[in-house]
Assembly symmetry: C2
Homo-oligomer: 420 residues x 2
């Protein structure tokens, strides 16, 4: 009898967990991703803000499975699923057959019907997004140093971040730190510490997923870091000249989009129902409804907690789902009864605001301030895959902490938008 | 009396040395570069071959001068010099006045009249060049893993490096190491250790600048690393399908150009004579002939040794020239006699072939093998600017040495060429 063929699409937290946990099972696995690297997305904003280098948070996916001869890794783009024929369709026309399919294809940023904003207001989901934002932020200071028109200079020194979830808060906090701590001594014609960092949130408060007192602390910390907050009004327009908040126009040259998320098209590939954000609505055991051999996990699946609230789109949730699916597959192959439905265990919520400020909500424990910041840092170093990167990131952070100098301040690639 | 205005164009080894050595002099300095970073070019090939990350060998230029309020750093592109008006012309139309001008604008790769080869045979001068080569090398293995046609697969697994100077030798050695040591366990459909790495040299031997016995050792080392050598025939054509060496066509999908160098247009800006490679022919004190307040140094200047042979285009030569020019400027401002003509002191030639193999020629001492490799490594770590990077690079190398795993294997940016 041939080994059972498992195809996993997506080398993020969920997909990698499935493959890891299938170790030793009588399966042949094909891992497909359109990128060659797994990305430690929770730290992506640190690349965007010059704290970490790209290779500190990304690793070749195939390297994870070098000692697993039953795992084949393919760099390829999936464009559909033929669930009748049990095949995954690749962009190059090839078809990859499966006995069990796991779709863990993640999500991307969404502009609520305003995709035309993307060129001027990039989101933060890929390494290129991060280096694009890094380049724009650094170029804005460089151009302000050369600029003679005070109005344009002010627009160059205005940075608008849309969305006050964890990513928006983290970006605003560190861009402010960059402007106020790292850069002032390096410019002669401008005072970078006068840069305006504006965080826009359509809702009433920052970090709405956290308890109100923690959210309130985060707001005060942001304000003390010099971040200006605008609540209650949505962004109604983004252009190369600036952003309109409600009906107020703010001239600025750098906009970062941290507001919306849209699932990858897994639900469309399977032709199954999706929620408003495009997430595939799955059964309680994470199977696609009516397709017993297809699982959908992570940010591209709409999974509910026992209380009916949605499982959050964070790394631990994707990993738990990956581990669960591996268990289901192994049970089936061993002829054992299927485990019960998937239960999400929320381990806690963490967010940083800037140097020495963070909030943590473990449910049984709420923390804020410098202690929370250290716990956050140690937790993230611990969860980084591989000894080398843990040490490399720890060293980078330690150096920044001591020297107050950001290390990865590179402007690379051509930026056509900014070339006049 | 106003301070003397020195404008330095180019933040490479030569330009940075000028600014460093003018510390304390009664000058106001403007440093202009079209990139925001100084690049440690001798290690650029290690970024191209996944050994180091971009931010390990590049640093924001303005960061060097943060504690020098008399130094203004501008990110701008110089397009000409008005030596009558004593002004540097920027692309954006601005003019920067100078009392003394230092042009240290470097060189780029040259295709001997075949600029149409550049898209298929990138050279290695900038960070983007390095990530482009890295992406192409890694993508070739990825595509070979997916490819079903054996002829195309073989072309994908053939890597041609044109030019057997230090850069070509280093690239060939490490790409071979990548294919034979790092990657084999990660692919299932191809044997990466069967990849062909071909080093093409129109002349009769590798590393022609070295003594013949060292060159011969380098050749044997390359061959034992699995690099195929082709001597005595020039490349006559480069296309997306392959390379023609003399009149023999070799199908391949990855070509790296390490053959020719062309100076930046400093001589044209000044309207002074240049040599065949476009280098400005300067006086014995590195001044542009007939323009007593303009110096040209580094790779964009043709400087002769006392024996009439050219000063090599390497970092120590640029630094010595930068230090000399700073001395001349300081002497003039202090009303002291001008130092004698510039003398180049050759400190030695170093080149690596791959792990544990290098050659060193100090003149009074010739070294080869693992000891030379360690000396090479320590010398390069020593010359890296800044404590942090020294430690970071040392750590990266130590890790690679122990684990045999290259760390920076990221495929980023869109590669239109390879998208079918």
């Amino acid at each position: 009898m041939q080994d059972h063929r498992v195809v996993v699409v997506g080398g993020g937290f969920g997909g990698v967990q499935v493959v890891n946990d299938l170790k030793g099972a009588p399966v042949r696995i094909t891992m497909i991703d359109r990128r060659n690297h797994h990305l430690f997305q929770p730290l992506l904003y640190q690349v965007a803000t010059t704290l970490l280098a790209t290779s500190e948070i990304a690793w070749p996916i195939r390297n994870f499975f070098r000692d697993r001869p039953e795992v084949t890794t393919l760099l390829a783009e999936v464009v559909g699923v033929d669930s009748e024929a049990h095949q995954v369709l690749l962009k190059n026309g090839q078809r990859i057959p499966y006995d069990t399919l796991v779709l863990a294809t993640g999500a991307t940023h969404a502009y609520f019907g305003h995709d035309e904003w993307e060129p001027v207001a990039p989101g933060l989901k890929t390494l290129e997004d991060a280096t694009t934002i890094r380049r724009r932020v650094l170029l804005a200071f460089e151009q302000a140093e050369m600029e003679t028109d005070p109005a344009i200079r002010e627009a160059l020194l205005t940075f608008v971040i849309v969305g006050a979830g964890p990513t928006g808060v983290e970006l605003a906090g560190i861009i402010s730190e960059l402007a106020r701590t790292t850069l002032p001594k390096e410019f002669r014609n401008i005072d970078t510490s006068k840069a305006k960092i504006i965080l826009v949130e359509a809702g009433p408060r920052v970090l709405a997923a956290f308890a109100e007192d923690l959210s309130d602390y985060a707001r005060r910390e942001l304000e003390s870091h010099g971040v200006a907050l605008r609540f209650g009004k949505p962004v109604t327009s983004c252009t190369a000249q600036g952003v309109t908040i409600g009906d107020v126009f703010v001239p600025c040259r750098t906009i970062v989009w941290a507001a919306g998320v849209e699932a990858s098209p897994a639900a469309k590939w399977l032709d199954i129902p999706a929620d408003r954000a495009g997430r595939a609505v799955v059964d309680k055991d994470l199977r696609a409804p009516g397709k017993g051999d297809v699982f959908v996990i992570g940010d591209t699946a709409a999974v509910m907690r026992d209380d009916g609230s949605p499982v959050p789109g964070i790394a631990p949730a994707a990993k738990q789902q990956g581990a669960y699916v591996a268990k289901v597959i192994k049970a089936k192959l061993a002829g054992k009864p299927t485990p019960g439905p998937f239960h999400y265990r929320h381990q806690g919520s963490l967010a940083t605001i800037g140097k020495s400020a963070a909030i943590i909500d473990f449910g049984w424990l709420k923390l804020r301030g410098w202690l929370a910041w250290w716990v956050w840092g140690l937790a993230h170093i611990y969860f980084l895959i591989g000894v080398r990167w843990r040490i490399a990131v720890a060293w980078s952070w330690l150096w920044i902490y001591i020297s107050r100098q950001h290390s990865a301040r590179l402007i690379t690639q051509k930026e056509t938008m900014r070339e006049e």
